[in-house]
């Protein structure tokens, strides 16, 4: 039996009719938030990462109904191609994007990190990106991107 739930996605509240076994990832994708990607559906790869109340989660492992009354940030809630978020800009400038399939997840994990820890060291960055598998880049430039993003965001706050 479907249930009507309400979620605030990227600052906008909407209600959704969801089946009890529907996953958050599927709800988001069918609602147009296609930046969350399907990579394994098993909670290992992190391509489906979104922020749930500010924390990165694998949306493939969370029932949509559990998001009822909560806040979600997807990649669509950051910048757009003509107006990049500083983290997105940093990922491009650092050369941290190759095929791009894991990137929405990695960018969101970075946002969650930098919201909590504005000046993370390399070990902390590696831990934050650990759940976002990438086969293209070897992570080096992604780690550099996070450092660059941290500098950009700090500069902005001043």
């Amino acid at each position: 039996m479907n249930k009507t739930i309400s979620i605030e996605i990227n600052g906008k509240s909407s209600s959704f009719s969801v089946a009890p076994d529907e996953m958050l990832l599927d709800l988001l994708r069918r609602s147009g938030y296609r930046g969350a990607k399907v990579g394994c559906r098993e909670g290992f790869c992190g391509a489906c990462t979104v922020l749930l109340d500010g924390r990165p989660v694998n949306s493939c492992l969370i029932f949509a109904a559990r998001a009822d009354g909560r806040k979600i940030t997807t990649i669509e809630g950051l910048g757009d191609p003509n107006n990049l978020h500083p983290i997105q800009d940093a990922f491009l400038k650092a050369g941290a994007v190759q095929c791009g399939y894991c990137i929405p997840g990695a960018v969101l994990s970075t946002k969650a990190l930098l919201d909590r820890v504005p000046d993370p060291d390399e070990a902390v960055i590696k831990r934050a990106l650990d759940g976002n598998l990438c086969r293209c880049t070897g992570y080096k430039k992604q780690i550099e991107a996070v450092k660059l993003a941290a500098r950009k965001l700090k500069g902005k706050k001043k």
């Binding site: 994708r29 296609r34 930046g35 969350a36 990607k37 399907v38 990579g39 394994c40 559906r41 098993e42 290992f44 790869c45 391509a47 997807t74 990649i75 669509e76 950051l78 910048g79 757009d80 191609p81 003509n82 990049l84 997105q88 990922f91 491009l92 400038k93 050369g95 994007v97 190759q98 095929c99 791009g100 399939y101 894991c102 990137i103 929405p104 960018v107 960055i125 590696k126 831990r127 990106l129 650990d130 759940g131 976002n132 598998l133 990438c134 086969r135 293209c136 880049t137 070897g138 992570y139 080096k140 430039k141 992604q142 780690i143």
Partner: protein, 784 residues
Amino acid sequence: MTVSPKKTRAASKYRVVGTSPVKVDGPALVTGRAVFVDDVEPDGLLHAAVLRSPHAHARIKKIDASAAEALPGVKAVLTHKDVPRNIFTTAGQNYPEPSPYDSFVIDRKARFVGDVVAAVAAETEKIARQAVGLIKVEYEVLPPVLDPRLAQKKGAPVIHDEKEARVVLPIDYRPKQNLAGHVDVVIGDLNKAWRTADSVIEGEYSTPYASHCAIEPHITLSLLDPAGRLVIYASTQVPFHARRIVANALNLPVSRVRVIKLRTGGGFGGKQEVLIEQLCAALTLKTGRPVQLFFTREEVFTSSRTRHPQIINLKTGVKKNGNVTGIDLRILMNTGAYGAHALTVVSNSGSKILPLYRCDNIKFWADSVYTNLPVGGAYRGYGATQSSFAVGVQMDEQAHAIGMDPLKFHQRNHIREGETSPIFAALGEGTEGVEQSIGSSGLAECIKRGAKEIGWKSKRGRRGSGPVKRGVGMVILMQGSSIPYIDMAGATIKLNEDGSFNLMVGATDIGTGSDTILAQIAAEVLGVKTGDFIVYSSDTDLTPFDVGAYASSTTYLTGMAVLTAAEKVKGQILEVASEMLNKPVSSLELAGKKVSPRGKGAGKSVTLAEIANYSLYVKNQKQIIASASRTSEKSPPPFAAHFAEVEVDTRTGRIKVVKYVAAVDCGQPINTQQAEGQTEGAVVNGIGMSLFEEFRFSSTGKLLNSNFGFYKIPSARDLPELKTILVVTDEPTGPFGAKSVSEISINGPMPAISNAVFDAVGIRLRHAPFTPEKVLRALREKRG
């Protein structure tokens, strides 16, 4: 030609080449707006699911799909009875393909656990999977071949007993003996080589099955357009090969098939296979509806393609002075249930390592055999990965045996600029190879700078006194750039009225950055910025032919096609400008988005926008547009020297890579940042293969670790201190001096890490991956 580093730094002889503009597809990718196949959802979309064989080897005696068909929401069920029985190869290679024709859309026989038995299209994925469970199959279970060493034994079960199995090139193919391909070459006199050697070493090495693990699983969407043509949205490295193979498999003329490559979420060779397009298309033809076939991660592991495992027997002879007298490389390669790239991968195991060492006596012998295990395919490194491991380790063993520093050993033995190897002519891709001499090599510089960066002199032989030992190791590498006289690439460039350009290429950017790199090449010629190009790749209706993203060919080969097309367009621009300015073409130059008379104060200039407007609207109207296509006559090797520093915990057997240095000569990097990125990605993938990536099977041939929980790939925390050094050279045949970069560096970690472990604890690891169990066992054996 080697360019000294000083000269390179001073010589910004290029305006755009060698810089690192932001990827042209970057903003869409980083904001999640880029369209991958899963992001296309046409009205009436059906979802497909595949019934897969639970048996390694079985004939389908009876198949009853009636219960599945009766399930509400199911729109089609296909079994072997419902698809054309056309044999083909799934290997996305040039026609005629050097891989055997041994595959059907769906066959009457299953040849590995995970082979296709039937396919369903239904209104939802859930219904499709439910329907798959309702298909009743009666199997005649056959004895399987699960060990490549037993594949050719007398009386072994014949895996490809279908009468249609054949080859379309004159290659050694003996399906009755489970032999999918064989190649051998002898150069010089091996007996003499062993006689004259001071040290002869023989050893067995092996590499396991491994998965590409592109984060986007294999996916296809097919539909019929309003004219009834089949349109396939593919995540592919090879759209044009896909069009040809699908048309052939389904009895359609090529003109009725259109393949559109959308953004592709990584390939690494795994999407050089036309594996799911024909099955998905068959469901569309049956239902008339759009169908999406999206592999689960488990299916990617079990039923897509893999790195071919190899058992390598290597014998080398070396004199005390370090000269290599002979190399005898014998390979038994397991191609699994189908012969995708069966011959060419193993041929490359010879052709992409044997020329690296100066040596007059060489024997290469290779069998590629069928087994009832998952199917091999193209995988970044393409055979060179496996053989570079064996050769790289044994050369280190030889250096140790004659008491020479491996650094010195490699410095004296590697091939030089202007030199050739008989292997180039002897070993090709299913045919003979092409003779070539080395036109550019920065290998000596790679060795020198890599050694300095790792601290070779200060770290070598200093193990430390605690239970955790340290060591450094090295290896030298080569690859190729395109397949000469076989690969072909085309490009079209068109000028728009605001002075922007369309660049249309059949080459497939699968994350490799080729859209950007090709735009940079065109921008260099046309005096504009990379961002002035709207790049479109690739669509079999709209872009020129290109073999696709494989064989390290795109930058080198498509790059030359783009360069040629850009020069043609430049010629047209100058002609129009000449008419507008009433000045001879020879007096004009194109730079900074305008054409001006040469020399200061020589008169008025016209902008590209004015030129475009003039030619579109004013006089002698025409579209400024040009196409060009190119083949290559050479496959210039990139070279590399890799260095690893490791820690080995002698209590646990755990290896930790502390630092890794990849010094690479890829000619002139077109996009420095992307060239580094290719190197870093390849190295980290190689570290995974060295330390933990491998398929594990049950005794009945079922893959046991078909997810990222049990088949680990490196995550951010596995990254060592990683340093990439690009040694710039100028390849005379390449576009602006470029060679390839994407594959070579995956070949380094296995040998470099193995050699570093030897330096640390004195054990030789000859079987990848180097798990703690293997390390502990070797340490125990060494203690005796």
